[in-house]
């Protein structure tokens, strides 16, 4: 029998969780809806799911706390897509730090949620990262640079902030998650298609050259991202994980 992805929806608003559940069901997914963290825990005692859609603004139970719990229990590999009610950078950052794989701001469209769910599932299944960042506030260090994975920017040796565009960040993150491993253009394209999948149409080659410029990498003799003829690219330096820093 073909596997049908099982999505657990945790939201305190009865109508929203039922509307979301029905929409996903209509689109071929299996869904379970629960109202809070307590119900979620008791459901997960006896069941496993493929992805959890979690509202972080729930009365009584802090969604962020629930998310952090998920990341240390037996379901730590289950991807989490967070719903936030606030259009707030800090919420997004904290959510991603707590281990959510993606987030969506309310009000959202159901079809956008569906697209995100599919993207997260595809991403986590296709190529599991060989470098797993599990704890919050990590800095990824490589060469002369550090990448702040929560604020999504680079820091140079002096601690000066060097901003990255969304696409640049996603590409660099894919490289850093799979260091010293050759990645084909198709793989890179698939892995970088996160949030703005439909909007992202730059070729990988252009993005790589932009990223090299940002890293002050010499295009003819690159130290960070090397071209592998007829195969793709490889991030050639080792990557270190640092704890949270100021």
């Amino acid at each position: 029998m073909e596997h049908v992805d099982h999505i657990l929806i945790v939201d305190d608003d009865r109508e929203i969780r039922e509307l979301v559940g029905n929409y996903l069901k209509k689109n071929g997914l299996r869904t379970t809806v629960v109202a809070d963290g307590r119900q979620m825990r008791s459901f997960l005692e006896a069941n496993t799911v493929d992805l959890i859609v979690l509202d972080i603004m729930m009365p009584g139970d802090d969604g962020l706390q629930v998310c952090r719990e998920l990341r240390v229990g037996k379901h730590k590999a289950t991807p989490v897509l967070m719903l936030t009610a606030r259009n707030d950078e800090t919420d997004r950052i904290i959510g991603l730090e707590m281990g959510a794989d993606d987030y969506l701001t309310k009000p959202f469209a159901a079809r956008e949620l569906l697209a995100r769910i599919n993207a997260v599932l595809r991403r986590t299944r296709m190529l599991p990262p060989n470098l797993v960042v599990t704890e919050s506030g990590r800095l990824l260090g490589f060469g002369r640079w550090q990448l702040d994975t929560s604020a999504r920017h680079l820091l140079d040796q002096d601690g000066t902030l060097v901003a990255l565009s969304g696409a640049e960040y996603r590409l660099l993150r894919v490289f850093l998650d799979h260091p010293q491993r050759v990645l084909s253009r198709d793989q890179l394209l698939n892995l970088t298609q996160g949030r703005e999948a439909d909007l992202f149409d730059r070729s990988i080659d252009l993005l790589v050259s932009r990223l090299r410029q940002r890293l002050l990498d010499d295009a003819r003799e690159p130290a960070y991202i090397k071209t592998v003829r007829s195969e793709g690219y490889v991030f050639s330096l080792p990557v270190e994980i640092f704890g949270a820093s100021a």
């Binding site: 309310k106 469209a109 060097v162 696409a167 992202f200």
Partner: protein, 437 residues
Amino acid sequence: MSFRLQWPRTLASRLSLIFLVGLILAQALSFGAQYYERFQSARSTMLGNMRNDVSTSIAILDRLPAQERPAWLKQLSRTNYDYLLSVGESGAPLDPEADEVPVAVTSISAALGGAHPLGFTRFAGEQKHFQAHVRLSDGSPVTIDVRPAMPPLSPWLPGVLLGQLALLIACTWLAVRIAIRPLARLANAVDTLDPNAHPVMLDEQGPIEVAHAARAFNAMQTRIAAYLKERMQLLAAISHDLQTPITRMKLRAEFMDDSVEKDKLWHDLGEMEHLVREGVAYARSIHGSTEESRRTDLDAFLDSLVFDYQDMGKDVRLIGKSAAVIDTRPQALRRVLVNLTDNALKFAGAAEVWVEAHKDSLAITVMDRGPGIADAELAHVLQPFYRVENSRNRDTGGTGLGLAIAQQLAMALGGSLTLSNREGGGLCAVLKLPLQP
């Protein structure tokens, strides 16, 4: 030509003037009274002495043999008068019964008491110089030459007076300063009062009135901040609570069959959602950000911003390089530029971002070739919920908050935002930021 005294403009100089004039007048009055009193008593003492002295001297001369008299003259001579053994000089006769005779005349008359024939002459020119002509018992003449003079003033008196004046000026200056300073401090505090920033409390120390004013000011400041906070919380709460019903409606709309009605509903929900988001963002921008300042590479920052637009297929170009590293709050700066660029894209479909570094400031300019804004309305569009009155804007469904948010955040970043119309049409928004050395 008339000369009019100008009443000084500052409270400090007015108070100083009043104090100084009053104190100097009072001081002069008391000095004058004392001086007069001293003059009076000195004169009566002197006249008393003179009377005894003259009667004694004349009696001595009268009894001395004529040839011994000259030897005594020296001992009988006094500061203000001396004796001559002659008929004296001729001058205008002086009538002792007349009104304006020197008091010494009366003293001499009283001293001789009619014992000897007596006549007076006065001399023009020198003040009150007169001579008394006396005949001794043997018929020889004696003249008393009187040159009245004030008792001399002590040489240190002008010094003391100057010292007093200096003391008066110093005390006046000190008093006025003490009175004015709290007022200046209060005015300064009101000037810099920014209810959105952290309140700067006045020192509630000092004299009772000053402490009272400071307390009242601090209380007012706290009240204003509380009102503003309440207003912002209300806006944020309404915006926030609208999100749940809008989410439900959007989800429900997705179960509807495709139709014009569904599209319209979808569009309306999109507008509501946008307003809610901007409302929250505005409330947050007013209320001050908790974001920390970071050293930021400005060129990379602008590159990333423009690339994000280009990746979404938007026509946004970056022109110029600043080579600057600035201390700023990146999320707030990003929000300002995103709002300006979104605005340009909305009205013109394309935007140019210029960056220029000057000696101590840098300018980031977002320009478009859209319809621009009428000059009269330029100042108003930075106010929240203000929309330019033309049909074009209604269609695009702006919230009227984007530019207000940009303005608030620009100020929070220590910069300024100014709008102007470009030559050849279009809007030009200049964000000026301070450039630290």
